[in-house]
């Protein structure tokens, strides 16, 4: 018999935990759920749009009765659990149900705090917490009653007030403090907010202390301490929430401000877990949804007895769900004497942005009027990214800092029509994304990617897709955990894996997977190439390259094309070629009937449409003319683009072509975390476009300027200046050292631009400029690893028989092979 799991609480936290559990261990438990409301699980956060008439109750249901039935979950709707007997392992509901458990999950949520003033029990005095409250508000409004008073000018109070206003009531918001949303906003943002809400018709009474609610059986008004009275047909209390832990406390579980749990979401009774707003974790209680979901994931992991996940607390942000008013706030937005503030203020546009920095890291943020970049700032804050290099432009947003190719100038999802294209790579429209989120109940950016492909290719529209997610769901669900595992096969991060490979001298992928307790035997198509790279970069002399873990292009040293043919790009040193080389390329193109010959952006020649079985012969003939692989397919050194420099150009100050060739001779063949492009320009006119390369060199009369971290692709990023050096030998040393530090420290598939933005330019300068011995050592390590890397892979395959199986079919048979019936009908042994 299966063990029994009982969940007390049919809300978002409890049911999310069950959903996570069903994903990883669907058959483990017999599950019973108790909920005191007469509904299935619904999205409580979207009660505001329901009140405002923008959504219906049906729109916000997350799990209907069919869901519980489909998962064999016994649901006791309308049952309030009144006691738990932990010795007998039984729970009792007020309605008479008695159910025993092997494991218990408490997710009782929180209750609104009701001010204990005279009259608080009158009819017409309600909170804003559940569907029943919303019905009461709507009924009152529809009955033609005029006056509503909302006590509490926080997030919830303002959302309630806005909803009631939309339903035609005259609404007064009463707040004890002198500014609205004082827990989330500073005075400037609060005043802007108040102004917008007043324009819509809300009235405010600030610094007002409620003394008494007037009326005999039904509420008629509210009196304040200063004697002022306002009429009221409805009073909504939205002054705060309190965790519901009475049940747990009566059962003898340790509670303080909530039910105390450890990092596995376990209470003091090992059989009893708790999640959500009723919980106190590391002294913190949470009233927002994102932390609940993180807790749910961890709790499910332990209920499934996997035992490796930890909840370490959440950094939270808030957004106001009032249509047309964009407010975002996170972290410590008031600052201390150690912090500084960067502020952008445009009163006529109604825009205010404030970032609070401490030692160049974002500690808090307030955005008013333009919250497009909230996810980006929040991510920078959670990752504690050094933003020194971005400070000048950071308030203009991510697009300004990283570019926004592929989705035009669209940056306001609310104003986008359903047929507006969001993802230019995969042709996904806004309507498609919204439909998938609603119908498939998607909550995270990863889920939206998997189902719609939006933002799954180049990623430049990620912020836009996140905004659609937020707009559709009503809150920011898409927060990825602060430490993100490499892939689903492990819970270790890139950095932890790199560190283990270095520290414990792991020299095979199998050793890495065993040492770090991989969850899958072979890994997957995400982690295998990454680990293979980390091994080669860290132990070049010892590691045997695992070709089966390389993407096809690096396995067969050519670029796969959409029709399954390949393209071949020979290396043309510094972009300088000869008539003999060109003749050899022309002859090969003729002989093998190569359909397209194209000049690339990197000053080379691309032969497109080569059949796979022809590759070794094509390479062999190119080799005979002295041409080797251009690694145009590699996460490695691609090209060194040059201008003609002082040899020909009347403006040239140095021999940029010669410098480029020397750089390419030194660096070709090296594997890097992502592709690596260089350029050398002979004067500041910069004809070789060195300022958008991973490593760019610009000649000046007195030497060479070195630039790093440029990118000309999805997100155009201009290089940062590293330094100026005098000699060609210096250029080579700094280039080698920079590449080596990037090779050793960056995450697999992270371009130099993203790496520098993650670690900060000061860190790179410290490693390359300040630490002279370190630079020389890195350069030496680079040259050492090149001994093992500078072997032409084409020659190996064309004339030395390496990987011959890749280029030959196993067999050609003239007869038809038996098709098997669909596997869903019949399983084949």
């Amino acid at each position: 018999m299966k063990p029994k799991l009982v969940c007390i609480g049919n809300g978002m936290a409890g049911i999310r935990t069950l959903e996570e559990l069903l994903k990883i261990a669907p058959e483990k438990y017999d599950i019973t759920v108790f909920g005191s409301e007469p509904y299935g699980n619904y999205n409580r956060i979207l009660l505001s749009p329901v009140l405002a008439g923008e959504k219906t109750i049906q729109d916000i249901m997350l799990n209907d009765d069919d869901w519980y039935a489909a998962h064999n979950i016994a649901l006791f709707k309308g049952h309030t659990v009144v006691s738990v007997n932990r010795k007998a392992r039984q729970i009792f509901s007020a309605e008479g149900a008695v159910v025993s458990y092997d494991r218990l999950l408490i997710a009782t949520g929180s209750s609104p705090f009701i001010l204990p003033v005279n009259g608080c029990e009158l009819s017409g005095v309600i909170s804003f917490r559940d569907i029943k409250d919303v019905h009461t508000m709507l009924d009152t409004a529809h009955a033609g009653k005029k006056h509503a008073v909302v006590i509490g000018g926080g997030l919830l109070g303002l959302e309630a007030a806005n909803g009631l206003l939309k339903q035609g009531m005259e609404v007064t918001v009463v707040h004890l403090m002198d500014i609205l949303m004082d827990r989330q906003l500073d005075p400037v943002a609060a005043k802007l907010l108040q102004g917008s809400l007043e324009q819509r018709g809300l009235k405010f009474l600030l610094k007002a202390q409620t003394q008494e609610i007037l009326g005999t059986t039904k509420v008629t008004g509210v009196r304040f301490k200063d004697g002022l009275e306002v009429p009221a047909d409805l009073v909504v209390m939205a002054v705060g929430i309190r965790p519901n832990f009475t049940l747990a406390q009566q059962a003898g579980l340790h509670c303080e401000r909530g039910i105390v749990v450890n990092d596995t979401m376990q209470t003091y009774d090992p059989r009893v877990y708790a999640v959500g707003e009723c919980v106190q974790h590391r002294k913190q209680t949470y009233g927002l949804v994102a932390p609940l979901f993180e807790q749910a994931k961890v709790c499910a992991n332990h209920l499934a007895e996997l035992g490796y996940s930890r909840y370490q607390g959440s950094v939270v942000s808030t957004k106001l769900k009032v249509t047309g008013i964009d407010v975002f706030s996170a972290g410590d937005f008031n600052g201390t004497d150690k912090t500084e503030e960067i502020i952008f203020q445009d009163p006529s546009q109604g825009i205010y942005k404030k970032l609070v920095l401490e030692e160049n890291r974002i500690k808090g943020a307030i955005l008013y009027g333009d919250t497009m970049d909230s996810s980006w700032y929040f991510q920078l804050m959670r990752d504690e990214t050094d933003v020194t290099a971005m400070r000048e432009k950071i308030l203009f947003g991510q697009a300004h800092n990283l570019g926004d190719a592929g989705h035009g100038s669209e940056n306001r999802v609310a104003s986008m029509s359903d047929d507006a294209e969001v993802c230019g790579c995969n042709g996904v429209c806004k309507g498609t994304v919204v439909k998938a989120i609603v119908e498939k109940k998607l909550f995270t950016i990863e889920e939206v990617r998997a189902h719609t492909k939006a933002s799954s290719s180049c990623g430049s529209c990620t912020a836009l897709v996140e905004q659609i997610l937020v707009a559709t769901l009503g809150n920011d669900y898409s927060q990825t955990p602060k430490t993100k595992p490499l892939c689903g096969c492990t819970h270790h991060t890139h950095d932890e894996i790199i560190d283990a490979i270095k520290r414990h001298h792991l020299i095979s992928a199998k050793a890495v997977r065993e040492f770090l307790e991989w969850k899958t035997p072979d890994g997957c198509s995400s982690c295998r190439p990454a680990i293979n790279y980390y091994l080669i970069a860290n132990h070049p002399a010892e590691v045997v390259d695992d070709y089966q873990s390389r993407f096809i292009n690096e396995r067969v040293h050519a670029n796969i094309q959409k029709d399954g043919t390949y393209s071949v790009v020979p290396r043309i040193w510094g972009g300088v070629t000869t008539p003999d080389e060109l003749r050899a390329i022309a002859n090969v193109a003729d002989k093998y009937q190569i359909p397209t010959v194209k000049i690339t952006g990197g000053q080379r020649i691309d032969l497109l449409g080569v059949k796979k079985q022809d590759l070794p012969a094509v390479w062999g003939e190119l080799n005979q003319a002295g041409l080797i692989s251009g690694h145009a397919y590699a996460k490695g050194l691609r090209t060194v683009k040059t201008c003609v420099g002082s040899e020909w150009c009347r403006f040239g100050t140095q021999d940029s072509t010669g410098m480029g060739i020397k750089l390419e001779k030194m660096t070709w063949g090296s594997w890097t975390p992502h592709k690596f492009k260089m350029a050398v320009s002979g004067c500041p006119r910069n004809c070789a476009e060195a300022s958008i390369k991973d490593f760019g060199v610009v000649a000046v009369d007195s030497g060479w300027e070195l630039h790093v971290g440029g990118n000309g692709g999805i997100k155009v990023r201009v290089t940062d200046i590293l330094c100026k050096v005098e000699t060609e030998a210096d250029v080579l040393e700094y280039a080698g050292a920079f590449m080596q530090v990037y090779r050793e420290e960056a995450h697999y598939l992270e371009r130099t631009a993203h790496w520098i933005e993650r670690v900060g330019l000061p860190h790179v300068k410290k490693r390359i400029l300040d630490d002279v011995a370190g630079r020389k050592a890195a350069y030496a390590r680079f040259l050492e690893s090149q001994k093992y890397a500078q072997i032409d892979p084409w020659a190996e395959r064309a004339s030395q028989g390496v990987a011959a199986h890749e280029f030959n079919v196993l067999k050609n048979i003239p007869v038809k092979v038996e098709s098997l019936p669909s596997a869903t009908v019949q399983e084949v042994a």
Binding site: D522, Q548, V809
Partner: protein, 104 residues
């Protein structure tokens, strides 16, 4: 069913693939890390990508063009993608010979 020998287990690298050309088009033979062998059409249900060129792990291959994942044992795309690819009859003899089952 008649069976036709097309090669040996050792002809295919572990977690790799080889092709057999047939009148029905290319059939990709996959050898997984546990030395099981699967035969499916070399055409991703998404945009026709050559599955034989993908990275193999467990009993799954990732298409090299757009990273769809295909379950080798069922021929079906791994959710949430939807689609399936033809599977073909294949068996291993005790001596490690690979044999394809021929259509009647």
């Amino acid at each position: 069913m008649n069976w036709l020998e097309v090669g040996n287990l050792q002809d295919i690298p572990q977690m790799g693939s080889r092709l057999v050309e047939t009148p029905q088009g290319n059939i990709a033979l996959f050898r997984t890390s546990d030395d099981q062998v699967f035969a499916i059409a070399d055409r991703c249900p998404h945009k026709g990508g050559p599955l034989s060129q993908g990275i193999v792990y467990g009993h799954v291959v990732t298409c090299p063009l757009h990273s769809w994942k295909i379950d080798l044992s069922t021929g079906e795309a791994v959710a949430p993608d939807v689609g399936c690819v033809n599977r073909y009859a294949i068996r291993q003899s005790e001596a490690g010979k690979l044999e394809l089952g021929l259509a009647e």
